[in-house]
Every structure is written in structure tokens, then in C-alpha cells.
Amino acid sequence: MKAGVLALQGDFEAHAKRLRGLGAAVIYVKKLSELSAVDGLALPGGESTAMLKLLEPNFIEALIERGRAGMPILATCAGVILLARKVTNPAQRSLDLLDIDVERNAYGRQVDSFVDGTIKFTMAGKSALDSLGQGAVPSRDSIEGVFIRAPRIIRTGPEVEVLAEHAGAPVLVRSKNILAATFHPELSFGAESVHQLFINSL
């Protein structure tokens, strides 16, 4: 099984490092031919506007098709913005692979970026963690989340499960094959469980 990491721009190296640390074979994906070679794709943090410019139309088409066909996707921060149904602050186009609405830079500018040491898992989150086995998860109650100019999920569709929350808002959600975090599990200590959930779905 090969885990792809979209490497157009952003913290793709941090994702690759985390995935490799958990034993996954990682391929960087920039072009259509590379997308066809992977069994799942991580969309890293970065600038969603820049990534949108760098995504070729045929790549977007193929990604939407594979995402709808069930390819596992892990999206963090900017990646979540790319996958959303609707994006605000300001409005921009998105792939509509995940039935959520997202507000960009919802917590403010860089000086408002923060670390929440205890993002709370919901019941659905705890049961998702149960599938990982005992050793893989340091805590079943909470994980650390690094939020950098983070977006906020302002609506979740009926098929979207909320796995974890910060200040009452969903920050880790799942819908079938798609797992999405508005924070950066790839930069958070002890948050391996998020990438492990993705690896297990490959």
C-alpha cells in the first residue's frame, strides 16, 4: 500500500515523516501520473489559494473521481479547505468532496495561532480510536492540536461524523473514506492516531 502526499506546496514533509514513522510507504504527488500510483492521499497544510492555482484541471477531475470512488484521503488545514463544499472568508472554489462548509482564517492572523493541548474526542472519535488497538493511542480522551491560521468548520452534513472538538466546534471529522482535521496532527505531539486512522483505511 502506498500513501501519497500532495506535494505542490505546504508542510508535505511533515506528513511524509509522520506516515513513514508509522511504517507507511510514502510517495510525493505533484502530477496526475503520480496520483494514479497511490492508494490514498494526504492533503497537507499550506496556502489553499496557492494550491488551487497549482492543481491542474485534469488532476482535480481525477482526484474528485477517485475520492468519490472511495480512495482514502486525509486532509489537514488548507487540505480541508480544498475538500469542502463551501468556503467563506473569502469565498473560493473547492472540490466538494466533503459535505462541510469552512471559514478560512477563522481564528485570526498568525499572532492568534495556538496550541490546544487537549482537543476532546467525541463518542464517535473514541470508537474510531478503538479500532486502532491499545498501544497506538496515548490517550482516548484528547490529543494535542496545533492550529496555525486555522479554518473553522461551520456546517457539517448529515453523513459527516465529528470525531473531535475544540471550543464546541468540530476540528476532526470523518465522512466515509475522508478524514479531515482543521489543525495539524502532523505537527502535534502524540497525535499519531490521526495518521494511523488514515493508514488503516488504505
Partner: protein
């Protein structure tokens, strides 16, 4: 400063990797940069080529220019303060800029000390010509390094020199024994702790970007192939004949820096780049890279 604050600062630098940061002097240029796919813009009063031409004291951009640019783009906005001018930095932080460049492009305010960057919540980027200089800036709290290059020249030779110097010094450290590292720290003028870390990891502890003299997509890709993790483009975009298409081309060149076919295609059909300046024609006292230590 807490460990979390350092992680948030270098974390934003991580998000900018593989991207292009463009100098802009007004909201219109900022929009063009964002539309082209820039990951951030640097708000300035004058681009380095104009600072070089006009002479005089170059300072932090006006509050109005920075606010005007922050208003129109959703990507991070950076701004420059003079070396050692911690009050300009305080003003920039209170404006809410996302990154401060303590920059040799502006006229230094302090010939002895740089800003203590640990005093700030906003992350800083600083320029360096070699590893020792980079580690001294990191000791002061810089969350990102960049080559100094020679800004405003459209000549990549100095940025290449600085990147190569950094890379070869890092390689050299990796081969040294513990007792040799103590001596290397002394020679580099850097803390032993940081020197040990670089020797162990084979890289700087913060992201390392390129800046100074980038004028073409090929220049940008060259810096990436030499080990830069992102590229700053100063005068190169808006002093060229075709800012919008050149900006797009440079963005694509940085993402696909290892793919000659894509680099060939993005280089096709561009109008003239900014005029360049031969290094020999710049007197030593006018070289911006000499500022700072």
C-alpha cells in the same frame, strides 16, 4: 518564550514551504501576487531595486500601505523592519502582520545588535550569508532563514554563493567528532548546542529559504535544486515587463523545480526580465548583504 510559541512560529514557516513570497508595494500588486499563487506577500514601500536606485534611508513601510495590503489578500502578509529596530517590529506586530523580515534591504538601525526575536509572538525571518550567521539569528529567535543574496540586482550569483556556503558548512559539520564540534562552534561564532543539532540533523533547525536576485523561473528552480525550501522574489516580479505571467511562471517553477520539461514550458513566452546588475559594478559599501553580522 514557550516551546509552543516556537512551534507555532516555525509551523507557519513549514506551511510556506514549496511556495513563493513576493514583494509588493500596493494592494493591486498584492492581488496580482495572490492570483498568481504566491503563498505570502511582503509589504514594502519600495522594492529593493528602487531602494538601490534612490539611495537614502530605507525604513519600515507606512502603516497605511501595510494595512491596505492586509485588507485585500487572504494569504499571510509579511513586512520588513530595519536590523535592530525593535520598535518598528513592535508596530508591525501590533498591525497583525504574519511574519517580520528583519532585513538588510532596509538601512540598519543598530550596527551591533539585531532584534531579540524571542520578545515577539510574531515569527521572524532573517537573512544570512553562511551557517554561522544563520545560527546567530536562530539564537536570537528567528523562525525562518533565507539567503541574503544581493537584493534588487536581478543577479542570482550572491544567493547561490550564500546557499552553497550554508550547505557545504552543514555537510562539513556532519562529519565532525564531538571535540571538533566545540572548535567549529567557536569558528562559526555560534552556540555549541545549535552546532551539535545541525551536525546531527544535517540541516538547519528552521526552514531555509532563498532570497536576493531571483529574476526568472529558472533562477527560482536553481535555488530549490540547491536546497532552498521556498523562494522570495523581490524586484524580479514587478520590475519585469510581465508581472502577472512571470509571477505564475515562478510559482510553477518552484513547485516543479526538478522537472525540466515543466520549467521549459513555464519559461516560454515571457517578456523581458528585470534588467540585471553585474556584481563588479556595485561598490562594496553599496552591497546590502554586508549589513548585519
Amino acid at each position: 518564550m514557550t516551546n509552543n510559541e516556537i512551534r507555532l512560529k516555525t509551523g507557519l514557516a513549514e506551511m510556506l514551504k514549496g511556495g513563493v513570497i513576493m514583494d509588493v508595494v500596493n494592494p493591486e500588486q498584492a492581488r496580482i501576487a495572490e492570483d498568481a499563487g504566491a503563498v505570502a506577500v511582503m509589504a514594502l514601500e519600495r522594492v529593493p531595486a528602487d531602494i538601490r536606485r534612490d539611495g537614502g534611508v530605507a525604513r519600515m513601510a507606512s502603516v497605511e500601505i501595510i494595512e491596505g495590503i492586509m485588507k485585500v489578500v487572504s494569504i499571510p502578509v509579511m513586512a520588513k523592519c530595519r536590523i535592530g529596530h525593535f520598535v518598528e517590529a513592535q508596530i508591525l506586530e501590533s498591525l497583525g502582520v504574519d511574519f517580520i523580515d528583519e532585513s538588510e534591504v532596509l538601512t540598519p538601525a543598530d550596527e551591533r545588535y539585531h532584534v531579540n526575536k524571542f520578545d515577539f509572538k510574531v515569527p521572524f525571518v532573517c537573512g544570512a550569508r553562511d551557517l554561522g550567521e544563520a545560527l546567530r539569528r536562530i539564537s536570537e529567535g528567528a523562525a525562518m532563514m533565507r539567503t541574503k543574496g544581493e537584493a534588487g540586482t536581478g543577479n542570482i550569483v550572491e544567493a547561490v554563493r550564500h546557499m552553497r556556503a550554508m550547505t557545504s558548512e552543514i555537510k562539513r559539520l556532519s562529519a565532525l567528532g564531538e571535540e571538533e564540534l566545540v572548535n567549529a562552534a567557536k569558528e562559526l561564532g555560534a552556540s555549541l548546542e545549535l552546532v551539535r543539532l545541525v551536525a546531527k540533523d544535517g540541516r538547519l533547525p528552521v526552514p531555509n529559504f532563498a532570497a536576493g536576485g531571483v529574476a526568472t523561473p529558472a533562477d527560482a528552480a536553481l535555488m530549490m535544486q540547491l536546497g532552498a525550501e521556498s523562494v522570495f522574489v523581490g524586484s524580479g516580479i514587478f520590475k519585469s515587463e510581465d508581472p502577472a505571467s512571470r509571477a505564475k511562471a515562478v510559482v510553477k517553477a518552484v513547485t516543479h523545480y526538478n522537472d525540466p520539461e515543466i520549467l521549459r514550458e513555464v519559461s516560454r513566452g515571457l517578456l523581458n526580465a528585470m534588467p540585471g546588475i553585474e556584481m563588479q559594478t556595485i561598490p562594496a559599501e553599496q552591497r546590502l548583504a554586508q549589513r548585519g553580522w
